[in-house]
């Protein structure tokens, strides 16, 4: 088992390097010299030369990449142009906020998705199944940022029950509800479909028939079914959580939720390249790590993989 984990890590390492290379290159794709955005206004010739030397802007790109990589690995992501603070300081609270939102979203998606998927899996080919499949497809196809707007229209503008934007104080969950619902739409659909397919697949297997033949009640059989479906669900959930974390920018923009997406949005429009680059890098790395964890978790659950 340890061998599998190591092998998986070994595989993830070049991917991580590739990701960092893409992040580095992205910034250099931007029109204009990226170094210009770091140089403060009205700097003297020596200051400009010093900054360029610091960032190695006079050296060939591969050297710049290595220098940048060296800084990144030690935790130095540069400084925000807009605020002057270290990028890490800007990103850290944003990541926390995004994680809060994503966690709420995935919790909702898990409950709704598993519930709907299980019901659909048990009620094969009847009207309930079609309705639930329809709901799932709706969830997958809906533009979640638009759903957010609709929720605002109904619950904030119309009914004035819930706030339309911002995060509010930590204890105030009312700000979390609408964005979490909006964010959970797509994962709910995906989880519902996966659970439905998994439940159907498991119930078709012979061991389920054996359980019924042994006289187990529906509830007891369901426990067995759930145990077999769980690995798939966990895998899908993990991947969706990671996607939500990386793709939350749209919902965060609608609700002005101060997370990484909101930060990225601001960084793009103020051309704050260090913040932008840092945020993309962190989110992408999180995604790689989450994928790795999901793979390992799946392997742990799979009894067919040999463990020493």
């Amino acid at each position: 088992m340890l061998r599998y984990v190591l092998r998986r890590l070994l595989y993830a390492l070049p991917i991580a390097f590739g990701v960092s290379l893409v992040c580095f290159t992205l910034v250099h794709l931007a029109p204009g010299d990226p170094i210009d955005s770091i140089i403060p206004e009205g700097a003297s010739e020596e200051a400009i030369a010093q900054i360029k030397a610091d960032y190695g802007a006079d050296q060939p790109l591969p050297m710049q990449y290595l220098k940048w990589l060296g800084r990144v690995v030690t935790g130095d992501l540069g400084q925000s142009i807009k605020s002057g603070r270290p990028v890490t300081q800007e990103i850290a609270p944003a990541i926390v906020n995004s994680v809060i939102l994503a966690s709420a979203g995935i919790a909702l998606a898990l409950i709704a998705g598993c519930g709907l998927g299980t019901i659909a899996g048990y009620a094969r080919r009847r009207a309930v199944d079609s309705v639930i499949t329809g709901i799932a497809i709706t969830g997958i196809s809906i533009p979640h940022y638009w759903l957010g707007m609709v929720l605002v229209v109904v619950f904030s503008v119309g009914l004035n029950w819930l706030p339309a934007s911002g995060m509010g104080s930590p204890a105030d969950l009312s700000h979390l509800i609408l964005p979490a619902i909006a964010l959970s739409a797509i994962p709910t659909g995906i989880i519902a479909r996966s659970v439905r397919a998994a439940v159907i697949e498991v119930r078709k297997q012979e061991f389920v028939q054996t359980l019924y033949a042994k006289g187990l009640s529906d509830v007891a059989v369901f426990r067995h079914v759930a145990r077999n479906v769980a690995p798939t669900v966990l895998a899908v959930m993990g991947l969706q959580f990671a996607q939500m974390l990386g793709g939350s920018i749209l919902v965060e923009t609608v609700f002005s939720w101060p997370g990484t997406g909101f930060l990225m949005n601001a960084a793009i429009f103020s051309r704050d390249l260090p913040v932008l680059q840092g945020t993309i890098l962190m989110l992408a790395m999180l995604f790689v790590v989450m994928n790795l964890m999901v793979d390992i978790l799946q392997m742990l659950f799979d009894p067919r993989v040999k463990r020493h």
């Binding site: 931007a30 196809s141 533009p143 638009w146 990386g246 609608v254």
Partner: protein, 298 residues
């Protein structure tokens, strides 16, 4: 020897049994009998035709602003769907917006299918070291969440429809390539490909005559499922201000600009999103229908 089918088609003029329905004809026939697919196709056809023939539909000028007619409700002075925050006719903006949104959503999928499909098929057929090299490079891009990558590339390249298309194509190429490689590897290991190679045929001949026809189906199904995602993300980019720029009409952009007026004219503000939703949903359902139609051992 007993025949394997219950009814035999009437013979052709030369006395040969008429060719049975091939794979694609069977798929087509099953699709044409699926009510959901037909309904979605009808809706999409309507939207697409409206978008294509927009200039000839006698609509108001989508760019004509009017400060006195801002955010008027439905039916106001001949504006069936009201006006937007700059006084422009909503119906007209929606129809013209369709041209932009559909184009920006559809083209990246087509490009990604061509590029990603080619990469995946080549990697799948060659196998071995080439496969590993190509797929590892693809995996690096696949390691980004889709929306993040799209926003990152667009954010860096700048706003604009062209940049948006480039960005989305780059996002979808890895996804299509992975499916293409996986399917091609599976087909390549089938005996009939070995039998074709055993005749001494060239690689291109085997690829073209044997591999391609069996691989195209699953790739197209996957690509069709990407269309709805693409439309949503493309509109999302415009919503963020990274896609189509004002004063053009585009559903995502309209959602953005109307957002400020959400308290004043809530219904108008969410209208463009309804269009995105309907289009995305129809493509999703049709893609599902296509997958079911192909899901036969025939």
């Amino acid at each position: 020897m007993s025949t394997a089918v219950a009814t035999a088609p009437a013979p052709t003029a030369s006395g040969f049994r008429r060719p049975s329905t091939g794979f694609w004809q069977t798929v087509g026939r099953r699709l044409s009998r699926d009510p959901v697919t037909l309904a979605c196709a009808a809706i999409l056809l309507l939207i697409v035709l409206a978008a294509l023939f927009a200039p000839w539909l006698g609509l108001d000028d989508p760019y004509k602003q009017s400060m006195v007619r801002r955010l008027k409700p439905f039916g106001y002075q001949g504006h069936w769907l009201g006006t937007d925050e700059l006084g422009r006719d909503m119906l007209s903006r929606l129809v013209y917006g369709g041209r932009s949104s559909l184009f920006t959503g559809f083209v990246p999928v087509v490009l990604a299918t061509l590029i990603g499909g080619l990469l995946g098929i080549v990697a799948g057929y060659l196998g071995g070291r080439w496969n590993m090299v190509i797929m590892r490079c693809i995996d690096v891009f696949y390691a980004f969440p889709s929306v993040l990558l799209a926003v990152a590339i667009s954010g860096v390249l700048g706003a604009g429809q062209f940049n948006s298309i480039v960005s989305l194509t780059l996002v979808f190429v890895p996804a299509v390539a992975r499916i293409a490689e996986s399917v091609t590897t599976r087909v390549r290991n089938e005996d009939f490909v070995d039998a074709a190679r055993a005749t001494g045929a060239s690689t291109t001949s085997v690829l073209f005559h044997h591999v391609l026809s069996n691989v195209l189906g699953p790739i197209l199904v996957y690509a069709s499922s990407l269309i709805s995602v693409s439309i949503v993300i493309a509109s999302g980019l415009s919503f963020l201000g990274l896609g189509v720029t004002p004063p053009n009409a585009d559903w995502g952009l309209m959602l953005n600009t109307l957002r400020q007026s959400i308290y004043v004219a809530p219904v108008t503000a969410i209208l463009p999103g309804i269009m995105i939703f309907i289009t995305s949903m129809c493509f999703s359902l049709m893609s599902d229908g296509l997958r079911s139609a192909m899901d036969v051992k025939a």
